[in-house]
């Protein structure tokens, strides 16, 4: 017996008939050829979120972003005109990586007035113009204006910086669509206290999105995290979402509020009672504007028990907004068919006192305990998918976002490949 209503079609999945209800083939997560195709069709031509404007606060603030799946490294920098720009991190002289410290593969950040290549000292200004060539007279009529850094499309939405390697891509706002538009105005800019985590995970990038795009596994995999009575209760209820929505390649799941604050304080751990915080975040909302009249994409079911919404912004960016006034981001950066770099960041309104600060600390520590269990499970999944003893898996109605994600990724690959064929035939 469902706890929450489903659409008239009978299920969330059947509400979107193009998804079908058949078991889903997971070879897209183990097939090296499919992965190569995803790099071309998805990671080289889709808007990718690489961070927030707060990480480039001043003129000259920069960071580098490794995009293994798109075979490049980027420099994101705020110029003299305050504009944020993105460039391929490659020197125009002989191709050295321009910005890096000791280890070429590691991301770096900082503030500078110009970029100077370590190899032969070519210099570029913050707008990417080549300003200095060592022993310029030895070259053969090189015009510096022809050798600026190679730029990459870069646009900002609600303080989130996106890049796109495809010069012909549609503008960011158009790509993000209606659902994202319905998030505009949320006070992201007030939430500037950041905790960021990073790990390399031995699974396909989509499998970790799968784990965070459904909560159906939570009462099972994370059972031991709750006190015994609460865990038993959660397990016997199972999980149902308040609402699901698909919008083009993007999707969202809306969930109830769980434990923030808990109905029965005896159901939470002692430290949570004192610090008034836990996995679902602080129990008390921060005192900022913008949390009362939520933008329309949040809590689409308009449910009293609303607790959080998770948005999957295709391909690899998730935005998780919590009712008590904080948010989380996830990024999944493929580095191979069976591995990816996972990043997650928690964003809070800066604390005003020790209890709030310790409450954030508890939410961050708790998040890590969960994420470790999730990450570890994925490696087990990846190895068993790889064996192909079983290839097709029945996804239930609570797993609609997974069904959608894998379909969108496959469709993008197919579209791209058929376009390539057409182009080749036309030549």
């Amino acid at each position: 017996m469902p706890h929450f209503p489903k659409p008239a079609a009978g299920s969330w999945t059947e509400h979107y008939p193009e998804l079908g209800t058949a078991p889903v083939n997971y070879s897209d997560s183990i097939d090296p050829e499919h992965y190569e195709a995803e790099r071309e069709a998805i990671f080289k031509r889709t808007w990718l979120n690489v961070g927030r404007v707060e990480s480039v606060p001043k003129v000259g603030s920069y960071f580098t972003k490794e995009l293994a799946a798109a075979e490049t490294s980027l420099i994101i920098v705020r110029g003299k005109d305050k504009q944020i720009r993105a460039f391929h991190n490659v020197c125009r002289h002989r191709g050295n990586k321009l910005v890096w410290n000791d280890f070429p593969g590691e991301e770096v950040k900082g503030t500078c007035r110009q970029f100077t290549c370590k190899y032969h000292a070519w210099r570029y200004d913050l707008a990417g113009e080549l300003t200095f060539i060592q022993q310029e007279e030895e070259f053969f009529n090189v015009d510096k204006s022809d050798y600026g850094l190679k730029s990459v499309r870069c646009e900002v939405w609600e303080g989130f910086i996106f890049v796109n390697l495809d010069p012909d891509a549609a503008p960011l706002a158009e790509y993000l669509g209606e659902m994202a538009k319905g998030l505009e105005g949320y006070p992201f800019h007030e939430m500037t206290e950041v905790y960021s985590y990073r790990a390399e995970v031995g699974s396909n990038w989509k499998l970790f999105i799968d784990a965070f795009a459904e909560f159906y596994h939570a009462p099972v995999l994370h059972q031991k995290q709750a006190v015994k009575d609460e865990a038993d209760k959660l397990f016997s209820y199972g999980y149902e979402a308040l609402h699901y929505k698909l919008d083009g390649p993007h999707s969202m799941i809306s969930s109830w509020g769980g434990m923030s604050p808990p109905k029965d304080p005896s159901m939470v751990k002692p430290i949570e009672r004192v610090l008034r915080s836990g996995l679902f975040g602080p129990w008390d909302r921060p005192d900022i504007d913008g949390l009362d009249d939520l933008p329309e994409s949040l809590n689409p079911a308009r449910h009293k028990a609303w607790g959080s919404d998770s948005f999957v912004l295709f391909p690899n960016f998730m935005l998780l907004i919590w009712a008590p006034g904080w948010y989380l981001t996830y990024h999944y950066w493929p580095t191979g068919v069976d591995k990816h770099v996972f990043e997650s960041s928690l964003y809070f309104v800066p604390p005003k006192n020790a209890r709030e600060r310790l409450g954030h600390e508890l939410a961050a520590v708790t998040f890590k305990e969960y994420a470790l269990q999730d990450a570890n499970t994925l490696e087990a999944t990846q190895t068993m998918l790889k064996g192909r003893a079983v290839t097709d898996f029945p996804l239930n109605d609570q797993e609609i976002l997974l069904r959608h994600l894998h379909k969108v990724a496959r469709d993008r690959v197919e579209e791209h490949q058929s376009k390539e064929h057409q182009d080749a035939a036309a030549r």
């Binding site: 790990a199 031991k224 996972f342 997650s344 310790l358 961050a364 520590v365 470790l372 570890n376």
Partner: protein, 107 residues
């Protein structure tokens, strides 16, 4: 840095007053359950007092001893999962998985 005078009872646990998460997490993994239980029992009973003490100062201008007390309470948060639920330092079912904290608001 020593703790504020009224928290001298926590001095035996002062080595838990570490400023960053990687240090606190490493100490958790290197500690026995007995060590963490003893620290938890002592520190948890002073948590409310510690919050009250720290909050007597402006948050962005904490004296050094209050800062040390804050770090100690962050250590308490770090051991709360092993003590209150896991009964072990490592997260159960986490195998070789790791998650490095790379950005944090250090007090």
């Amino acid at each position: 840095m020593p703790l504020p005078a009224e928290f001298s009872d926590l001095e035996p646990y002062a080595d838990w007053a570490l400023p960053t998460e990687p240090e606190r997490y490493a100490k958790r993994l290197a500690s026995s359950m007995d060590e963490m239980q003893a620290f938890y029992d002592a520190a948890f009973s002073r948590l409310e007092d510690a919050i009250a003490h720290i909050d007597r100062h402006p948050w962005d201008d904490l004296p050094e001893d209050a800062r040390t007390l804050m770090h100690l309470m962050q250590g308490l948060v770090m051991v709360s999962f092993p003590v209150e639920v896991w009964k072990q330092a490592r997260v159960p079912d986490s195998g070789a998985a790791y998650l490095d904290l790379i950005v944090e608001p250090v007090v």
